[in-house]
Symmetry: C2
Subunit: 86 residues, 2 copies
């Protein structure tokens, strides 16, 4: 089992009302030092065998991202948990 | 400017119909070696100054994730582009 992670984010020039709504709510939480919030998608593709980046790119391109308004990045994730787990 | 990335994914025991729909569409693309697809959210929080992980955790906990059905991970992203850019 190998995992490819696809991150799909709106292009920088596209407005992100969902992220803006979160950013607008932050002062009510007492947070004043956040410049912006952008919200996108994270897709985890589990392959039966080895991770196939070309295959994952095809999937992302055809099914996961809208190339008109979104960019995506791909990476093979070695360990299931990266960063700090909550 | 520093960026904290919050990844919010459904807990493993929670069904993910959106990911399942993508997985079900893969055979039509000729892809047979994918075991599962899970779709979650990726949130980029840009801080004016230094990245504040504790603050970001509070934001994630109160605004971004539903702790009943979702887990989240936090990390400071050093370089804006990680992985392979499309």
């Amino acid at each position: 089992m190998a995992r490819v992670v696809v991150d799909v984010m709106l292009k920088p020039e596209i407005l992100d009302p969902q992220g803006q709504a979160v950013a607008n709510a932050l002062p009510r939480l007492g947070v004043a030092d956040v410049a912006s919030v952008r919200i996108g998608k994270r897709i985890e593709i589990e392959f039966d065998g080895a991770a196939d980046l070309d295959r994952a790119r095809e999937i992302a391109d055809k099914l996961l991202a809208n190339p008109v308004i979104e960019d995506f990045t791909l990476r093979v994730e070695e360990t299931p948990a990266e960063g700090e787990q909550q």
